[in-house]
């Protein structure tokens, strides 16, 4: 595997730094920069296409100078640097695409030709070996241990462990079974044990793997709405500068200034926004690439862009906000029972309990009381059953039980009226706070009440505070009752919650938010999430989820980590900021270029305008050449920034704008004055002009 596959493949460790580019990627990028000189390829980038046209004219002018015997040296340099401007812009795009291409090649290598076991007669189970690429949606195949899943589909029968490393990079196999939310399998993954029957859901050439390849390769890359708008703006600016420069022919003639068309061409190229024009698509591709590095696959750049705009984030409580398992947080002794004994009873009752709840009781005892216990040599474990709603442990020295409060009451023969008032109060308190009370009995006597609670993940509250500063509202979605939901919501610091949520409720909530003009992001995995995922502006489906969910969302999280939404939003914002910063920088640069070129082109005929040469550039030729060289080099200089992206800081829109305006606006005005001056010093020192 090349290192680019490593990006894609291995969880978390994937992010091999974006600055270490292998020489093969570099070589390919350089080659592609020349391939992209084809005007048909440049047509989607009006600014750079214009630059190429002027470069061609400059070349013609150089050739003409050779033919007529005039000194072609200076014209040649201008022409060469104009070509470099185009090449640098192409290179920026190629290098951004490069990593994706390498990743795609690696993926393609994995897509070996599989012979699928096509079931043509489900009644009798007749099987015909068929090449995977001939499978159409609706066909049913058998996949047995050791087989590669030939295409995407849903399991209709069976259960199997599947190695999905090819897609997710996670080598531990996962369980896939028919029915429920874990029924989807992906082409290219391998069944490790057992067998499954799969109904194929993808048409040939449109499988998840195919789309993944297309996405990382950028073949399906379309301009996003904002990119489109920005391209329009840049094209408009190009036209404005065409007018401003073109009309100098007439105005100059009136003023007795002889204007060399080559000089006007150079001025024109310096003024049009070549910097952002050259880097625009690289920024977009790099954004997708950054997502890929956190193992998120977006089906369109549009979705990434929308992520930056998200106002409301819908989060499933379970797994995102809380651990998803209830955990013991306190053990309250019954009246007359010493705390130590109550705790010990809870521990004994849970010793044989392998569930997370049981583990959490042992954990609590160890952490808070330093209590540990070993299973005795002889014991009988009483497993939990839905009818008794009680579990426990029998040993030679005693019996311990824990379970639903009512069930334990019954077990120890207490009428609800006989329950001590303190116990009643504790049970009530726990229930009201949204927790689950469990009762614990030792040898038929009620000894303790255990408080089980949904525990909020550490750090979640801080992340939500960050989100609020970014301008996002978080809404927690849960199947819990409103009381439990409210407790968790206030603990986690979400802005709102939706309790006892059905899929219809989710969909309605999204629609309501959108009606108010907000953009909504959500993540989900179940089939019943599909409508909501489709309705949301940014729908992140979990890779472990159902085929329906994965189809409905516009992003797939290969790690199936719902908190990933936050990273997605950041990547979206980063992409937009980078675009804005470089556009501002590009336009602000023009001020200095005017002060370099305008005096240079007029000073011979109108010496008074020499006063505008505030940079004190060597001579008219060196001034123009320096501006052109600076204009080309700045593209290359900014490639790392375009690929890395301008950092997003959750400091509020106003502060962020102020900061970026200072750096890229004011900085954009000042930087070229210094840059052009330096280039001019070199150009004159070396004697280039």
């Amino acid at each position: 595997m090349t290192d680019a596959t490593v990006h894609l493949g291995v969880k978390r460790r994937s992010a091999v730094s974006s600055t270490t580019l292998s020489s093969s990627v570099m070589a390919r990028a350089i080659r592609d920069s020349f391939v992209k000189l084809d005007p048909r390829k440049l047509a989607r980038n009006p600014v750079i296409l214009t630059t190429e046209v002027i470069a061609v004219l400059a070349t013609a002018s150089t050739v003409n100078a050779f033919v007529t015997g005039a000194s072609p040296w200076w014209a040649l340099q201008i022409a060469v640097w104009l070509w470099f401007t185009v090449l640098f812009a192409n290179f920026a795009e190629s290098i951004a695409e490069g990593r994706g291409k390498a990743a795609a090649d690696a993926l393609r290598a994995q897509r070996v030709d599989v012979q699928a076991k096509l079931i043509i007669d489900p009644e009798r189970g007749t099987i015909i070996p068929t090449p995977a690429y001939k499978l159409t949606a609706g066909s049913i195949v058998l996949v047995e241990a050791g087989d590669m899943v030939p295409s995407d589909g849903d399991i209709i029968e069976g259960v199997a462990s599947v190695n999905e490393a090819a897609i997710t990079g996670e080598s531990a196999p996962v369980i896939r079974e028919s029915g429920g939310d874990r029924s989807a399998v992906t082409g290219g993954t391998t069944v490790v044990s057992d067998w499954i029957k799969v109904r194929i859901t993808a048409e040939p050439g449109n499988t998840f793997l195919d789309r993944m390849i297309a996405m990382v390769e950028g073949a399906e890359r379309r301009k996003t709405p904002n990119e489109l708008a920005l391209t329009v703006l840049l094209a408009g600016l190009t036209l404005i500068f065409l007018i401003a420069v073109g009309t100098l022919l007439g105005l100059g003639q009136y003023s007795g200034v002889k204007l060399d068309p080559l000089v006007l061409g150079a001025l024109f190229i310096c003024l049009i926004p070549t910097t952002i024009g050259g880097l625009l698509s690289a920024i977009g591709i790099a954004g997708m690439d950054r997502l890929l590095k956190v193992n998120v696959l977006a089906t369109s750049g549009r979705a990434v862009e929308a992520a930056g705009d998200v106002d409301t984030l819908l989060l499933d409580k379970t797994g995102t906000i809380t651990y998803g398992n209830r955990m013991a947080t306190e053990v309250v002794a019954a009246p007359g029972v010493p705390q130590e004994r109550a705790m010990m009873a809870a521990v004994m009752a849970s010793l044989a309990d392998e569930t997370a709840e049981g583990r959490s009781i042992l954990e609590l005892a160890r952490e808070k009381f330093g209590l540990t216990a070993e299973l005795p040599a002889k014991f009988t474990s009483i497993p939990f059953s839905a009818t008794t709603r009680v579990s426990g442990l029998d040993t030679d020295v005693g019996q311990w039980r824990k379970g639903a409060v009512e069930a334990i009451y019954r077990l120890v023969g207490l009428n609800p009226s006989e329950v001590p008032a303190e116990v009643h109060a504790t049970v009530d308190r726990i229930a009201r706070s949204g927790g689950t009370p469990l009762a614990c009995a030792q040898d038929g006597v009620l000894v303790a009440v255990i408080h089980l609670k949904d525990v909020v993940k550490p750090g979640v509250k801080e992340r939500f505070a960050d989100l609020r500063r970014m301008g996002m509202r978080t809404v927690m979605i849960t199947g819990d009752n409103p009381i439990t939901a409210a407790t968790i919501a206030s603990e986690a610091g979400v802005d709102d919650f939706l309790a006892e949520a059905t899929p219809e409720d989710k969909l309605r909530l999204i629609r309501e938010e959108q009606q108010k003009g907000r953009l909504v992001a959500m993540c989900g995995d179940g089939s019943n999430d599909a409508p909501a995922l489709a309705q949301a502006d940014v729908g992140v489906a979990m890779q472990t989820g159902t085929q329906a969910a994965r189809e409905a969302g516009n992003m797939v999280d290969l790690d199936s980590d719902p908190t990933k939404v936050l990273e997605i939003v950041e990547v979206g914002k980063q992409m937009l900021i980078t675009r804005g910063a470089l556009t501002t920088f590009s336009i602000a640069n023009d001020v200095a270029k005017y002060f370099a070129i305008i005096p240079a082109i007029f000073v011979v005929s109108l010496p008074a305008l020499g006063a505008l040469n505030i940079m004190r550039l060597g001579n008219p030729h060196s001034a123009i050449l320096s501006a052109v060289i600076f204009n080309a080099l700045i593209i290359i200089a900014l490639v790392p920034l375009a690929l890395r992206g301008v950092k997003y800081r959750a400091i509020g829109a106003s502060k962020l704008l102020q900061r970026n305006l200072l750096i890229y606006g004011l900085g954009g005005v000042i930087a070229p004055f210094i840059g052009i001056k330096i280039v001019d010093l070199i150009v004159t020192a070396v004697g280039l002009a």
């Binding site: 404005i240 401003a244 007439g250 003023s255 900021i577 556009t583 829109a653 106003s654």
Partner: protein, 569 residues
């Protein structure tokens, strides 16, 4: 420069802003169709007008219908005005016995008044009959201003809408703005002007005998009434060639103050009304502050250049006084500076001094204020929508830097809006620089120039800037009443008005249809000092980048040549 001078400039602009607020509140009520205290008198008139013209008052038009109505009205106005001017000799109230205007002059003048430009290629008191003046020109001072304000209302409604379509009804807007805003103010101000000494008569002239015994014929007109609407509607077309430097148009310091205040206050009021209608008062205030800062800076710059002694004179110790050439001695430099800045910033075009005679940099500032797009505060209505377009561009470019796709006043700015905004903005350099570059090399055009060299180029640039910006002031020194200038300036005026506003209305249609988004803490704030600085930066850089090369060959090189010549002595 002295304290009284600065105080005068600041007082004048401050007074303008102070009046703009109540006027804006009132204008918002008129836009919304709410009741006003003029209702008892004007409601019945309004009703009769709607009935007579078959206007369905409640029917809101989409952007296309609104635009078509506006264009139809303008075309009809143009045709009628053209015929009045062309055949004024056949029409009544021609006590002076003037002939009909030539075809090219009629074309130019009709467009000029329909587009709220009031460029005058002719000497009015020697060309235009009283009937042409009153029925033709003055009436369009009302209607073209009302049309401009109507379009601003349409743009405001677009931002207020939530997935809406209607931008209001052009005919209702036109009627209500004329009836409730322009007419009452014009009547009151005209009476004030009469009281302050401006003539208001239908007689052609007064005979007078000068001190030396020579007989004079002094032209008279219903001046006060024209003067009121000339300024209030940012028209600027004078009755007399000297415009507001003429003692009948501007008899004293008080009329001078009133006229300056009048030519800016309604444009600013449109911004205030916009804030009310869109429920974005802070954002509208930011636009208003931007306008005021820039126009004040313009006035300050002119005050500075025009209070310098002319370098050449200074060098030979001939005079150390300020450069008074082209300035009305009654008003002095500060009054001229603030007038020059506001008349060019406001797309008014009336003058009380001759910009041609300013120092080169003073002339450059007046020209630049026009080239920035007539948004400071610009023509009535047109200044507002021009400023909104600039705000959209500023938000689009810089707004991305907060990490969201850009939105302004709760509306997302996408490719369609950017396209229309750029189409509109493109018109300025295309028309100004395009025509100037052609005129600069055509002998037929150059014949009209009084000066050669950079100053002549400034005259050309100024003329097309003024026409395209629908300003109407002249740099003087250019004899524009020739077929070439009349027709090209006419086309420039057309482009500056309609090729600009049609994309803006199309943009409004697209904006109206969008959902109105709620702001969050992540939204780019579009009020406050940061946004104002951003907007000022974008306006200056965009304007500067477009016009710096041309200005360099005109006033800027002239400035350095003057300095160099002096240094060479």
């Amino acid at each position: 420069m002295d304290l009284p001078g600065w105080s005068e400039i600041l007082f004048t602009i401050g007074l303008t802003v102070a009046i703009a607020f109540p006027l804006g509140f009132y204008l918002a009520r008129v836009w919304k169709g709410e009741s006003t205290w003029l209702d008892p008198v004007l409601r019945p008139v309004e009703g009769v007008l709607y009935k007579a013209f078959g206007v369905e008052r409640e029917k809101s038009q989409n952007w296309f219908a609104y635009t078509i109505s506006m264009l139809a009205f303008s075309i009809a106005s143009f045709v009628v005005l053209y015929l009045i001017l062309r055949f004024q000799d056949l029409l009544p109230l021609n006590p002076q016995g003037f002939k009909g205007l030539t075809p090219d002059l009629s074309f130019n003048t009709a467009i000029s008044f329909v587009t709220n430009t009031n460029w005058q290629s002719y000497t009015p008191e020697q060309t235009v009959s009283t009937f042409s003046q009153m029925a033709g020109l003055t009436s369009h001072n009302f209607l073209s201003a009302a049309a401009g304000i109507a379009m601003a209302a349409a743009v405001a409604r677009a931002f207020a809408a939530n997935r809406g379509e209607g931008l209001g009804n052009f005919w209702v807007d036109l009627t209500r703005i004329s009836l409730y805003v322009l007419l009452p103010v014009a009547i009151v101000v005209a009476l004030v002007f009469v009281a302050l000494g401006e003539p208001q008569t239908l007689s052609a002239s007064a005979a007078a005998v000068g001190l030396e015994g020579g007989k004079q014929t002094i032209a008279l007109y219903p001046t006060a009434s024209q003067e009121a609407i000339k300024q209030f509607g940012t028209n600027g077309g004078g009755i007399f060639n000297a415009n507001s430097a003429h003692p009948f148009e501007n008899p004293n310091a008080i009329t001078n103050l009133i006229e300056i205040v009048l030519m800016n206050t309604l444009s600013l009021a449109c911004v205030v009304a916009f804030g009310r209608l869109v429920v974005a008062r802070k954002e509208a205030r930011a636009l208003l502050v931007t306008m005021v800062i820039l126009v004040t800076a313009g006035a300050a710059a002119i005050y500075w250049t025009e209070t310098q002694p002319a370098p050449a004179m200074h060098a030979v110790h001939a005079s150390t006084a300020v450069n008074m050439e082209g300035k009305e001695v009654r008003f002095g430099a500060p009054s001229t500076a603030v007038w020059a800045a506001t008349t060019t910033g406001a797309s008014d075009g009336g003058v009380n001094g001759m910009h041609d005679s300013f120092m080169p940099l003073g002339g450059a500032v007046t020209m630049f204020l026009i080239q920035l797009g007539e948004i400071l505060p610009g023509g009535v209505g047109s200044g507002l929508y021009g400023m909104v377009v600039m705000a959209l561009i500023a938000v689009f470019v810089a707004g991305l830097m907060v990490g969201r796709t850009p939105e302004y006043l709760g509306k997302k700015i996408e490719a369609r809006e950017v396209k229309f905004a750029m189409l509109a903005v493109l018109i300025l350099p295309l028309s100004i620089l395009g025509f100037a570059a052609v005129a600069a090399v055509l002998p037929v055009a150059l014949k009209s120039l009084a000066n050669s060299g950079p100053h002549g180029l400034s005259e050309i640039l100024y003329a097309y800037s003024s026409a395209t910006g629908n300003n109407g002031s002249a740099f003087a020194g250019l004899s524009a009443n020739t077929p070439f200038w009349n027709s090209t300036l006419g086309i420039a005026m057309l482009l500056g008005r309609f090729a600009y506003v049609v994309p803006v209305l199309a943009m409004a249609g697209s904006i109206a249809a969008k959902p109105k988004l709620e702001p969050s803490t992540g939204t780019l704030p579009t009020h406050g000092p940061l946004f104002i600085s951003l907007l000022i930066g974008v306006i200056l850089i965009m304007g500067g980048l477009q016009f710096f090369p041309a200005q360099a060959l005109g006033p800027i090189v002239e400035h350095f040549q003057v300095l160099a010549a002096v240094a060479g002595h």
